[in-house]
């Protein structure tokens, strides 16, 4: 058999899962969709001695509107994000970006929580969480806490979760009025991890000038990269191609730190970041204008 032996538990409630996590803290891993964990176990890159399978905790699978945010249970499949109508209406950036995650066969099983906790710098969902100012709810037997996406990602495959904590819910605020969005990436083949990608948001003020912007990149460093200086350079300005050119320059020269991989050099990634930034800003600004 491929994976190393492990003890297997399959709780049917969050409380039961939290009890198991506290009993086995440090040696247990959560099994969500398994689309990142099981490949690593098959190669014995990871060999957890205890697996706690959340696939029967039905309480963790939902998408619902509450106030001016959408709350998503951590075990919600990536495929459900793709087809949810309230997400499409309130947070279209997420709907537009989800089909870029892997292939349908992977999205049928992979979960939003699993992708966020996995914290792969090349993954789409961590980038989207930063771009959308999401908040993440972690629980252990003692209680719960909320962590901002900004404070959650702590480097390559690393998060702020403690060993006995489970990510249970994600809260994503609706896009604010007069906001346009764009998600673009370049991958060798549809469904592959992208060489470079960007999530862009542009909010206009009443006069049509840029009130605020957000630019977050994947595969551009050791986690999702929030290009704050570049986004700031747009504030208070009338948006146009000349401005986008200089913003893209800031991103590519100063804010990202791509490592390259077997498919690309870091220089090519910087080039892609520049091109994608200009295109994404243009689309986001246009959409923001249309929503006025």
């Amino acid at each position: 058999m491929k994976p190393a032996p492990f003890e297997y538990y399959v709780p049917d409630s969050i409380e039961h899962a939290l009890d198991l996590m506290s009993q086995h803290a440090g040696e247990a891993k959560i099994l969500a969709g398994g689309q990142s964990l099981v490949p690593a176990m098959n190669f014995r890159i990871v060999q957890p001695s205890v697996l706690i399978d959340l696939n029967r905790v039905e309480q963790l699978s939902y998408i619902r509107e509450e106030g001016d945010a959408i709350h998503v249970g951590s075990m919600t499949r990536e495929r459900h994000l793709e087809f949810d109508t309230s997400l499409a209406k309130r947070i279209p950036l997420l709907t537009e970006a989800t089909p870029f995650i892997a292939h349908p066969q992977i999205r049928n099983r992979g979960t939003i929580g699993g992708s966020i906790v996995n914290a792969d710098p090349a993954a789409e969902l961590p980038v989207l969480m930063l771009a959308l100012d999401a908040r993440l709810k972690a629980r252990n037997v003692a209680g719960e806490r909320w962590v901002d996406a900004q404070g959650f990602f702590a480097g390559m495959f690393t998060t702020a979760l403690e060993p006995d904590e489970i990510l249970v819910e994600i809260e994503i605020p609706f896009l604010s009025p007069r906001t346009g969005w764009s998600f673009m990436e370049v991958a060798p083949r549809a469904g592959d991890y992208a060489l470079m990608g960007v999530a862009a948001l542009v909010t206009l003020d009443e006069s049509g000038k840029c009130k605020s912007a957000k630019l977050v990149y994947l595969n551009a460093g050791d986690g999702p990269v929030d290009a704050k200086e570049a986004a700031k350079s747009l504030e208070g300005k009338t948006l146009n191609d000349v401005l986008f050119e200089s913003t893209a320059e800031i991103v590519s020269e100063k804010e990202i730190n791509p490592f390259g991989n077997i498919h690309t050099s870091p220089e090519f990634q910087r080039h892609l970041a520049k091109v994608l930034t200009k295109k994404a800003l243009k689309q986001a600004a246009q959409r923001a204008g249309e929503s006025q």
Partner: protein, 167 residues
């Protein structure tokens, strides 16, 4: 001591009760325990698509699911595709299989079961796909022989056949 867990699982409309070790992959369970060797195994890390099966009707990688997780669930493999339940003909082939035959959609056949199990739900969702949509749907399945062109032709033929049958 190794843990052993009893599971009840329906595979191709037949019920099985088995004892499994938790680390047994669903792909290996199907092949080694049930003898259903139509499900192929290529990479065992989710990339090649050869092991794709239907889990409660949705296409998934059987190399990334443990057999214990299939307890109480409904699995379909390529061996079950010709069932009338999927629009197949008893004792014959599913229209998609028939089309692969007629359009030469395979050479060595290693990738074929996974491709069929990916495309059956795809054609249900999208009965009249464009060539671009077909190629996109195939992006999660590697074929090292055909160059994909004949696979695309087979899918087009199948979509015509299925629409004709449903008239």
């Amino acid at each position: 001591m190794t843990q052993s867990i009893t599971i009840n699982v329906t595979v191709n409309e037949k019920e099985y009760k088995c004892e499994v070790e938790p680390r047994l992959l669903l792909s290996d369970f199907l092949r080694h325990e049930l003898g259903l060797t139509g499900t192929h195994v290529g990479c065992e890390h989710g990339v090649c698509g050869a092991c794709t099966i239907l889990f409660n009707g949705e296409s998934m990688r059987s190399c990334l699911i443990f057999a214990v997780q299939a307890d109480g669930h409904n699995i379909t493999t390529v061996e079950g595709l010709s069932s009338p339940h999927f629009g197949g003909i008893e004792g014959g082939l599913h229209p998609l299989q028939q089309s692969f035959w007629e359009a030469h959609g395979l050479q060595c056949g290693y990738c074929t079961p996974g491709i069929l199990m990916t495309l059956v739900p795809f054609l249900k969702e999208n009965p009249n796909p464009t060539e671009d949509e077909i190629r996109h749907a195939l992006s999660g399945n590697l074929c090292r022989c055909t160059g994909y062109q004949h696979i695309v032709d087979a899918v087009k033929l199948a979509s015509e056949k299925i629409r004709e049958l449903e008239k």
